[in-house]
Amino acid sequence: MMDFNTITPLTTDALLKAMKETEGNNVRFGAGYTDLILELEMKKEPDLTVINLSQLVDDDFKSITKRESGITIGSLATMTDVLADTNLQQFPVLIEAVESVASVQIRSVATVGGNICTASPAGDVSCALVALDAACEILDTGGKIRTVPIAEFFTGVKTSVLKKNEILRSVLVPHRKTTDRIVSGFIKIGNRNSMEIALVSFAYYILADSNGDVTSSGAAIGSVAETIKSTESACEFLMGKNIEHLTKTDKGKFADLVLEYACPISDIRASAWYRRQVLWNISRSIF
């Protein structure tokens, strides 16, 4: 159903104004449109207004900036912008997650904010950001910012904490102390090598000192629960352990703890049984 009104704000003020004016109406944000257009084609949305963010000019929304506390990624930064940013190269989990999204055509227009706000339990970028312990910076129509840890941003399938008068402005990925060893990556399981919605995904970002002792650990799982889950107790388990000398039992225990956060469903893509098997296998395989 592609009949809708559009408002195209060019500045943040115009954006907040548009949000105020349409509050209470049937309104959606459109940024990269790679999810929205498909959604709208599937269902009828009468009297829909789309606030078209595609032409917004605002650094907070668009740029990727190194700050004191970390690196902020504007919600309107595209996937390609993320891949091109030198500061973000230190987070292999994020780079690999972004590279795994669809195709170069989609990555050129799809936005980080779009991926997060779609709130899909299979969201690749969201999964990586949960492993990175990122914080969502949310702007309301009054001009105020509130911060929500991204692991708490998702409340259910395709639902988030965003209120009707709010928009996700940016995401902050916190700095880590410089470190000797990084064990980090994003594993996405599918039936083919490209263009997949993850059947299971596992994002991990583990730092260790020169001895190999784990100093920081973050991991998240996707497509195996209603929302992306941070596997806290599994990460806790690793703290202080030596990453070079993990025993088979340790690795198994880590995988067991990861699995506790999963409650997958069976659908036409895969069964719950398969998702569990593979999640356990791949989380164990990262060492």
Partner: protein, 135 residues
């Protein structure tokens, strides 16, 4: 209105093809400011202040094919041809990007750049060959 509708129905440029209209097959790929984008997932109003190139644009006002097109012809990379303009635009964008930073890609990078372009006839082999030959 979607960009693909603007291109095909309003501007009557039929080279850009409606393969799936779900952003999966890449047959509708055009260049927006030199970047390959699926025109089926792009709102027409957002081309404001941007330059759009369709496959016709590569030979517009010329008597010979663009090097990307020439390479595809000479490598036997064209069978039914419905995916072809999308392939051409994806490869064109990639070539220009690599050239601008003096980068020579390997075969895996070429494939990665084409992962969003589906072909049912060629099995991709000669299309990848034709792109590799450009560098």
């Amino acid at each position: 209105m979607l960009l693909i509708d603007l291109i095909r129905d309003e501007l009557k440029l039929k080279g850009t093809k409606p393969g799936c209209l779900e952003g999966e097959c890449g047959a509708c790929t055009v260049l927006i400011d030199g970047t390959a984008v699926n025109s089926c997932l792009y709102l027409a109003i957002n081309i404001h202040d941007k330059s759009i190139t369709t496959v016709e644009g590569l030979t517009d006002g010329r008597t010979s094919l663009d090097e990307v097109q020439e390479s595809m012809v000479n490598h036997g990379a064209v069978q039914c041809g419905f995916c072809t303009s999308g392939m051409v635009m994806a490869i064109k964008s990639f070539k220009d990007r690599c050239d601008s930073v003096n980068h020579v890609p390997d075969r895996d990078e070429i494939k990665k750049n084409l992962e969003g372009n589906i072909c049912r006839c060629t099995g991709y082999v000669k299309i990848i060959d034709s792109a590799e030959a450009l560098f």
